[in-house]
């Protein structure tokens, strides 16, 4: 009797505790997921009632919207070039800072700070830095006798400009790598040194395998993040020049909130989900080949 009463109290407390979240999950997440899926088979312009049109949105996406493919290409460009560069730089800095240098805390702060700059402010800063005539970057290049490109106004250089700007914000990943490096047990390095391993071999056969789960995590998060890139492009280039910085989510945003093609934009969102899902699964599938998990 008393045991039953105890359970009842526990259950009632639990439901009261999760009630807000159950409501939130249903109203703001699961409901919208179902609605979005249904909209993706509809023509819906908000002002007129939705109309069922079968697979037309998907057909249009794959066969009649060249901008969609262009935006997907632009986005994958950022992923394929930007993410590895980001990992390379953040890992290099973490390795340098992990060499027991003096003032590590100070340098860590310097490298970390840019990553907390709000994206809108960061975009404005970089529009000024990348200004072709009087911007900082082209001034620095001119010191070496190089005439800098038009950056954001150039079809070829706008995406690289975004990548460079992204490298300024690698602080978060650097901190993750530093934490990962500090978790590598010292005795592994000692053992490797006793076996005659040089600095490169210690990195290649101790650091890298021990750090591979961290690299894997940063890689996945980086890919998912770049696939959703939007704010910078909206503010700095408005998708131009010649749609060279029209990224996938930007195109989706235009379709939904500029053209009010809610059904089409919903279909695009589901395609994005499939891409994110496929890329994550592919990475998980490939990970046993290079990610090393310590067996306990």
């Amino acid at each position: 009797m008393s045991r039953l009463k105890k359970n009842k109290e526990e259950i009632i407390t639990a439901y009261l505790c999760v009630l807000p979240w159950i409501l939130g999950l249903s109203i703001f997440i699961v409901g919208p997921i179902i609605a979005s899926f249904i909209f993706s088979f509809m023509d819906y312009s908000v002002v007129l009632p939705p109309k069922f049109i079968g697979l037309s949105n998907y057909k249009k996406m794959f066969f009649e919207d060249p901008l969609l493919w262009k935006s997907l290409y632009n986005t994958l460009y950022m992923t394929v070039i930007g993410v590895p560069l980001n990992i390379l730089l953040s890992l290099s800095i973490a390795l340098l800072l992990n060499q027991k240098i003096k003032g590590e805390a100070f340098f860590r702060t310097v490298f970390y700070l840019p990553s907390i700059v709000p994206q809108v402010a960061m975009s404005l800063l970089w529009m000024w830095i990348l200004n072709p005539q009087i911007g900082l970057i082209n001034y620095l290049l001119s010191l070496f006798g190089i005439k800098g490109p038009m950056w954001l106004a150039s079809e070829q250089w706008a995406k690289p400009a975004f990548i460079i700007m992204g490298l300024w914000g690698i602080g978060g990943n650097m901190v993750i790598f530093l934490a990962g490096l500090q978790n590598v047990p010292q005795h592994l390095y000692d053992a490797a040194t006793v076996d005659g391993a040089n600095i490169w071999q210690r990195f290649r056969y101790v650091t890298l395998p021990m750090l591979s789960p961290t690299i894997f995590f940063v890689l996945i998060m980086g890919i998912i993040g770049t696939l959703q890139i939007f704010t910078q492009a909206y503010i700095m280039t408005a998708g131009g020049p010649m749609d060279s910085t029209l990224f996938y989510v930007y195109h989706l945003f235009n379709k939904a909130f500029r053209d009010f093609h809610m059904g089409y934009a919903s279909a695009m969102a589901w395609f994005l989900f499939i891409i994110v899902f496929a890329v994550t699964m592919l990475n998980l599938k490939l990970s046993p080949r290079w990610v090393y998990y310590e067996t306990e």
Binding site: T109, L136, A179, I235
Partner: protein, 276 residues
């Protein structure tokens, strides 16, 4: 000391210092521009130190846009989001971690599954909900949902509750403490660092949020800084001094919070990283 050991050390220091300079220069450039009289901003080659420094651009920001109002809106939004998150997330996390109730595992599984979904999938129906409620052009869509929890925060806090020993709860039960009392008096105080981390995430998320305001807000009355700064840039794209001054004023609180709560920043990031 032999030379073969010293040279690599020197190389490490040179690389670190060169890297730091590269990372810090954009800040210096921004500060320098914000304090420069207009005629010095457009000099080429540029002048690093303004002569004399001027605060005119900071005053211009308030003349060009209702900057005080934007700032106030952002602070209100941030406080509301933090309040909402602290109200909804720790309780739910506690229930998932510590209490037994029918449906717990299923709902937790759904919670985890939705974390994988890009926010663009739910963005359009959410917009339609708020539109039907007549909440467009108000701040409501930007804070109301926070009172109903967030999958990532709940997940993070749950992981922390899980690490607390069950014996503490049992002892409190024997002393006649209610389950809510256990949460409030025993479990919550022990995970304050994690709660701080979640609070910082919420602050950063609200302060940075751009696409939300862009979708929901048109007029200055309900507009936060992020979108306000964008409107400002659209209207005064050549006023680099004022633009940099406004950007600095948006960045400053974030940097201040960082310096006061540095430990929790770093802890938060490493946590999310290592849990993966």
């Amino acid at each position: 000391m032999n030379i073969r050991k010293i040279i690599p050390r020197i190389v490490v220091y040179i690389l670190v210092i060169a890297g730091s300079i590269a990372f810090i220069i954009p800040f210096i450039w921004t500060v320098s521009t914000a304090f420069k009289p207009d005629d010095q901003i457009f000099l080429f080659p540029p002048k690093w130190i303004p002569e004399p420094p001027t605060t005119i651009h900071f005053r211009e920001v308030f003349e060009f846009v209702p900057f005080g109002l934007l700032y106030r809106n952002t602070v209100i939004l941030t406080l509301l989001n933090i309040a909402g998150t602290l109200f909804s997330c720790p309780l739910a996390a506690y229930a998932f971690a510590k209490l037994r109730w029918p449906g717990r595992d299923l709902i937790f599984l759904i919670t985890l599954a939705t974390m994988m979904l890009p926010s663009q999938v739910t963005m359009i129906p959410q917009f339609l909900i708020f539109r039907n409620l007549g909440w467009l052009n108000t701040m409501l869509p930007l804070w109301f949902p926070s009172f109903f929890g967030n999958a990532f925060n709940i997940f993070l806090l749950r992981q922390f509750f899980m690490t607390l020993p069950k014996e503490l709860d049992d002892a409190a039960r024997i002393d006649g403490c209610s389950f809510f009392g256990i949460f409030w008096r025993i479990n919550l105080p022990l995970i304050i660092p994690a709660v701080t981390t979640v609070t910082i995430f919420t602050f950063m998320g609200t302060w940075n949020n751009f696409i939300g305001p862009l979708i929901y807000v048109r007029s200055y009355d309900a507009m936060p800084l992020s979108l306000g700064l964008r409107m400002f840039q659209e209207a005064y794209s050549a006023e680099w001094g004022a633009l940099m001054a406004a950007s600095l004023m948006m960045i400053l609180p974030v940097i201040l919070v960082f310096f006061f709560l540095q430990k929790y920043f770093v802890q938060g990031i490493s946590l999310t990283g290592l849990k993966g």
